[in-house]
């Protein structure tokens, strides 16, 4: 049954429905409702919540709990996610599955607290040190956030890899009617024989990212990249909207895609053929569907729309590979475009 939920709280409940029992966080706007909700809700479920002394500590608590076999997560917003990066690199290196939520805000520095998408590079190009990837989702509305979160721990476990969900204050703070899926039975989850949890029967389980021999470390990197290739083959998620006959294809993710949809509907009413490709995963990026659109005769150009100075547009250009022009419209600092801004931009640019 659908109920009216605040975004951040729905996301927290969806995590619990998906099996999360341990949450470690530190206050930062605009994600505070997630730790606040978890602080009492996890106790009801027999799990635990710790308000950590910092984001650095919180992500290392995730390393401990998840490395010990539990479904564990943290959430934060941009500056806090920067602090977590060393820990995320360790999680990726040691192949510890977990979930991280970033409700992005404007930067750089302390920046602001209004919606922004300036953490795209940080999320999909690594963020921390070394060669690694998180699996990164950028859901477009609260229900989709809930659905992605619900399965995020399964995906993380399947690949033994950190999963990140990125949104912004618009999604976190707004209220919508959403349905929380049925609660997963923790007893039916696949076992984690690799987890460091004591009573090992004589064979040590080790959660570790140090490989001091360069050859071992190179092998480890190759193994990780084999896994990432598998993720790229299996996990790409995206939505196409009115692209069949589109001359201009918008590319946008998260709450921005929703604004684009409104602009597209308005432009269509005026007979302008526009559509959209909306990445739901930004790593792995929907390269192939974009490349396929770039091959289509009806597609004249792409318009990437972001709440940043232009980050995802680089991946769009790599995917389109020069076949068609790729234009960019961006606002930043927490300023959010209106559908009318996009309508005007398209009409004037035509």
């Amino acid at each position: 049954m659908k109920k009216l939920w605040k975004g951040n709280e729905a996301i927290a409940e969806a995590a619990i429905a998906g099996g999360c029992r341990y949450f470690f966080g530190y206050p930062i706007t605009p994600q505070n409702e997630i730790p606040e909700y978890m602080s009492w809700r996890l106790a009801e479920e027999g799990g635990a919540f710790i308000q950590a002394e910092s984001e650095v500590s919180a992500i290392n608590m995730v390393y401990g709990a998840a490395g010990a076999g539990a479904r564990a997560m943290t959430s934060s917003s941009s500056p806090g996610i920067s602090l977590k990066q060393e820990g995320i690199s360790y999680l990726a290196g040691a192949e510890v599955p977990c979930v991280i939520v970033n409700m992005m805000r404007g930067g750089p520095g302390l920046g602001g607290i209004q919606p922004a998408q300036g953490d795209y590079f940080q999320a999909v190009k690594g963020g921390g040190h070394g060669d690694y990837h998180c699996i990164v989702y950028a859901p477009g509305n609260i229900q989709e956030f809930v659905d992605v979160m619900y399965d995020a721990f399964d995906v993380a476990d399947k690949y033994r890899n950190p999963v990140m969900l990125i949104g912004d204050g618009m999604i976190g703070q707004m209220m919508e009617a959403v349905e929380i899926p049925e609660y997963k039975d923790l007893n039916k989850l696949p076992p984690k024989p690799w987890a460091s949890q004591g009573h090992n029967g004589g064979v040590q389980r080790l959660i570790n990212s140090i490989k001091i021999d360069p050859n071992d470390l190179e092998d480890h990197n190759h193994r990780l990249f084999k896994k990432y290739a598998e993720i790229e083959a299996n996990e790409v998620k995206y939505e196409e909207y009115l692209t069949e006959d589109a001359e201009i294809v918008f590319v946008a993710y998260g709450s921005v895609a929703r604004i684009c949809k409104a602009a597209i509907n308005e432009l269509r009413e005026e007979g302008i053929k526009v559509g959209m490709l909306r990445p739901i995963t930004i790593y792995p990026f929907p390269k192939k569907p974009l490349a396929a659109l770039a091959e289509k005769a009806n597609v004249k150009k792409f318009l990437t729309v972001e709440l940043s100075m232009g980050q995802m547009v680089e991946d769009v250009r790599l995917s389109v590979n020069g076949k068609k022009p790729v234009d960019f419209y961006g606002r930043c600092g927490g300023v959010v475009m209106m559908p009318a801004d996009l309508v005007k931009y398209v009409k004037e640019g035509k």
Partner: protein, 249 residues
């Protein structure tokens, strides 16, 4: 022939990578002996630091973590929350525990997390080649204070046991030394007490061990033990700084 001493089962046969004369190996052995004597070796989960003990997982057979520099107390807190019936210890140097990880140490202690932190205070950054640590004593030379630590330039050393003892959270805090057989036996007794506190679910236990680092003090093993005895102990007094089992009575 009767066996009077043997290597604890919990330790592997791996060759220790520590420098000759370094006390890290002794403390590893004490931890293993104590866990076996308490009958909880199988339930143990160890959290190793970044520092000379980074490869400590090679020497213990129990389940282990290698944690980011300074973050072992955060990792240990979470592991223990997930598996309250396991026996969790972190093993950390002074750079790890009292510099980069000071916040994690203080807050795990303040929360009264029910694990045991073994703090190896050798007054120097061993692994990275002898830089000054928060615990380096005045006048001691390090590669980042080549004329000796000068409090006016380099600040003052930190007495971590005393500092943590001001908190309500910790259950047991003791400082020992590892410089001669008598003190090694006292260190073992302290480690045992710490794990007993944990097994009784009384909360955070912290054992600071004054240790040596012959390589970076440019001393022979014997000289480095002498240094601990004659210089470190007077500056870092040994003893129990907190014991809630005493307060209970």
């Amino acid at each position: 022939m009767a066996i009077v001493a043997k290597k604890p089962e919990l330790l592997t046969d791996a060759h220790l990578h520590y420098c000759p004369g370094c006390t890290h190996g002794i403390v590893h052995r004490l931890v293993a002996e104590v866990l076996e004597e308490l009958g909880c070796a199988d339930a143990a989960i160890g959290i190793m630091p970044v520092g000379c003990a980074v490869f400590g997982y090679n020497y213990f057979k129990c389940d282990m973590f290698q944690a980011a520099h300074g973050r072992a107390p955060a990792v240990a807190s979470a592991v223990k929350r997930v598996h309250p019936d396991s026996v969790v210890f972190s093993y950390q140097g002074d750079g790890d525990c009292s510099s980069i990880g000071m916040a994690e140490t203080v807050h795990a202690a303040a929360r009264g997390e029910n694990f045991t932190l073994i703090f190896i205070n050798n007054g120097i950054y061993g692994m990275t080649g002898g830089q000054m640590a928060p615990t380096t004593m005045e006048g001691v030379k390090a590669t980042t204070c080549i004329y000796g630590r000068d409090p006016k330039v380099n600040g003052n050393p930190i007495h971590l046991s005393e500092m943590l003892a001001t908190l309500t959270g910790p259950a047991y805090i003791e400082r020992t030394a590892c410089c001669d057989p008598a003190n090694v036996r006292k260190t073992k007794a302290a480690i045992k007490k710490a794990f007993e506190i944990q097994l009784a679910k009384k909360g955070f236990s912290f054992i600071e061990v004054l240790a040596n680092c012959p390589s970076n003090y440019h001393m022979t093993a014997l000289e480095s033990m002498e240094f601990v005895k004659t210089k470190a102990i007077p500056f870092y007094p040994l003893g129990v700084y907190k014991d809630i089992t005493k307060e209970d009575k």
